[in-house]
């Protein structure tokens, strides 16, 4: 069993695709200290062919998924956008772009995302720009997915594109960084997010080295946990490892909590009081606190082997 004994502060996972995860994951994340998470709109593994599929997906991000998270004491936020892969279906992309303003202004939407490049096609470039413009219009941060292939060039190109559209780099979170991309991202004033994801993106031992080398300013850790082999506890595990390896606790708090809050909090939609006000008290008291007695609303926590 992994121990999180050294973590005595709250954590945020600013990139987690919870629609693909179970309630066990929510429970484990909460037990490991995650108080809030951000779910970027992304691609579901299977391409969508109708605009209605996007509509219902966005609705679930601001509806049922938010409720599901709340049952486990986790505050759920999201970013709304058209992902890079599906931007290549232009006829569909046009309709999806029309939909975005409907969702982007909703409560708890903390940015436009995840958008960016996959294959670095012209269509991807076009819809990336349109969405950066929308973010500026609505005063929302942008969460940028950088490509798996031709990553270094794709990351540079993403930042160029953002600056060309006129958005200020402190409003942009460049995600899925590695040892090869981090320096340029930080030097140009963007937020540098790292996804701790087995086999493909970052490992947490490498993450420790990055923080040792670059410090804690503007660096953010996330899990990007999704339908693939991924780890919803990547943020707590990385925080624990950093502390074990002697990284200053204040630094760990920054990269696993405060920086994500500062970056996405610029939306005005994410406030520390959202979770501090409710999570410090027993769930049962919360429901009776305002004398609205709601029977049966206490989340079931199953400890034993017997399921009743």
């Amino acid at each position: 069993m992994t121990s999180y004994a050294l973590i005595d502060f709250p954590l945020i996972d600013p990139h987690a695709h919870m629609v693909s995860r179970t309630t066990d994951d929510y429970e484990a994340m909460r037990k490991a200290g995650v108080v809030a998470l951000i779910e970027p709109a992304f691609w579901l593994g299977q391409p969508r062919t109708e605009v209605g599929s996007f509509k219902d997906y966005y609705a679930s991000l601001v509806g049922f998924e938010r409720f599901r998270a709340s049952q486990f004491g986790i505050k759920h936020y999201c970013t709304i956008g058209l992902n890079s892969k599906e931007a290549n279906n232009e006829a569909l992309a046009e309709q999806v772009i029309e939909l975005l303003p409907l969702y982007a202004c909703k409560e708890g939407v903390v940015g436009i995302g995840e958008i960016g490049f996959d294959d670095q096609t012209d269509a991807e470039d076009k819809y990336f720009r349109i969405q950066v413009d929308l973010a500026m219009e609505l005063a929302l941060p942008v969460q940028v997915h950088t490509p798996h292939r031709d990553k270094k060039k794709g990351t540079t190109r993403s930042m160029n594109l953002c600056l060309e559209q006129g958005i200020s780099p402190e409003w942009v979170i460049i995600d899925h960084n590695n040892e090869e991309t981090v320096r340029e991202v930080l030097d140009r004033g963007f937020w540098a997010a790292f996804t701790i994801y087995p086999h493909t993106k970052m490992g947490n031992e490498r993450m420790v080295e990055i923080v040792k080398q670059y410090g804690a300013e503007k660096i953010i850790v996330n899990s990007a946990t999704d339908w693939g082999i991924s780890d919803p506890l990547a943020v707590p595990k990385t925080a624990q490892l950093m502390l074990e390896k002697g990284i200053d606790k204040e630094w760990v708090k920054k990269v696993c909590y405060a920086n994500a809050l500062a970056a996405f909090g610029q939306s005005g939609q994410m406030n520390e009081m959202d979770w501090l006000a409710t999570n410090s008290i027993d769930q049962r008291e919360k429901f009776s606190g305002n004398s609205v007695l709601r029977g049966g609303q206490v989340p079931q926590v199953m400890d034993g082997k017997i399921i009743r």
């Binding site: 509806g63 409720f67 409907l102 007695l293 709601r294 029977g295 049966g296």
Partner: protein, 310 residues
């Protein structure tokens, strides 16, 4: 046995939306910041002069960014006024941003009913959790209120508990407009969800024989599985007490659980069924408590929910 009319077909009722908007605006002016009020006024003007669904949706969503999230404390006079404007309407529990949303919603053009519902349906289908709560809370004051029954029945199917409770609890709309099947689904789902039944408006008035049987069947299923049932359930069942229910009360009266015994006593007296009343003879103290009003369904429910959270 008490007999109630189980089917209700309310006639379309004239609801004075303009007076309601004026009332809501007076409520907001108590606490909202000048910036918020100015923002709202600008949005209303643009809805009025240059209506576009996109701006309407964005204004409806964005209201919560400008107005308070806390519940408004309404005066008794204001609650009375609301009820005068629209019978049964009780704005208690509304938050300032929800009042603003309702004002925006009531500015939706209504002249063409088809266009009106096209926009309304789009608004509901794209709504987030908080927006659905706001939308369902105030159904009773909407134009064409009688045409929202399918929408309400759809809302009852939600798995999001606070959305469900926005419809089911402290809301006069379902009792007034839903048909018997829709109503029964609401009550059964409230029982299943563990929502407090005493907060359902019209629970006793809308009792019916089908529902009583469904509730008794539900209790039997739970008992067969070794589970307990919410004893408030008997309040909804009692007005149509039948033989099966008499057996249920008999079982409950011998229960070790005090709440179950109390619920059975309340149900027996509420039913006024001779056989049910006879069941109480061996329990004079329970019978007296109900008869002298020291035990009522409302104080029973409050004590029951209190016990659950301890």
């Amino acid at each position: 046995m008490l007999q109630h009319k189980s089917s209700m077909n309310p006639l379309p009722q004239h609801i004075p939306q303009k007076s309601i908007v004026a009332f809501l605006q007076s409520i907001l002016s108590q606490s909202a910041t000048p910036t918020a009020q100015q923002w709202l006024q600008e949005k209303l003007n643009s809805i009025h002069t240059d209506f576009s669904t996109r701006h309407f949706f964005i204004a409806f969503s964005a209201a919560f960014r400008f107005f308070e999230k806390e519940e408004i404390s309404f005066s008794t006079l204001q609650i009375q006024k609301a009820n005068e404007l629209c019978l049964g309407w009780n704005p208690k529990g509304m938050r300032a941003y929800e009042v603003a949303r309702l004002i925006i919603f009531l500015h939706l053009p209504t002249t063409d009913k088809g266009t009106y519902f096209e926009t309304v349906n789009k608004l509901f289908s794209a709504a987030d959790m908080g927006e659905l709560v706001s939308l369902y809370k105030s159904l009773i004051v909407y134009p064409y209120a009688e045409d929202y029954t399918l929408r309400t029945a759809e809302g009852i199917r939600t798995n999001i508990k606070n959305v469900f409770e926005a419809i089911a609890l402290d809301n006069p709309y379902p009792a007034k407009y839903l048909n018997e099947r829709q109503w029964n689904q609401l009550v059964l789902k409230s029982v299943f969800n563990g929502s407090p039944l005493y907060k359902i408006v019209g629970l006793e008035q809308r009792a019916n024989a089908t529902l009583s049987q469904q509730l008794s069947d539900y209790a039997h299923e739970r008992w067969a599985a070794g589970r307990t049932v919410n004893p408030e359930l008997w309040r909804a069942a009692a007005p149509f007490t039948n033989k099966a229910l008499i057996h249920d009360y008999q079982k409950l009266l011998t229960s070790e659980n005090n709440f179950e015994r109390q619920a059975a006593a309340l149900a027996c007296l509420q039913s006024q069924h001779p056989q049910a009343l006879a069941l109480l003879n061996p329990y004079p103290e329970l019978k007296n408590a109900v008869e002298n009003n020291s035990l009522t369904w409302d104080n029973f429910s409050i004590a029951w929910y209190q016990s659950l959270i301890q």
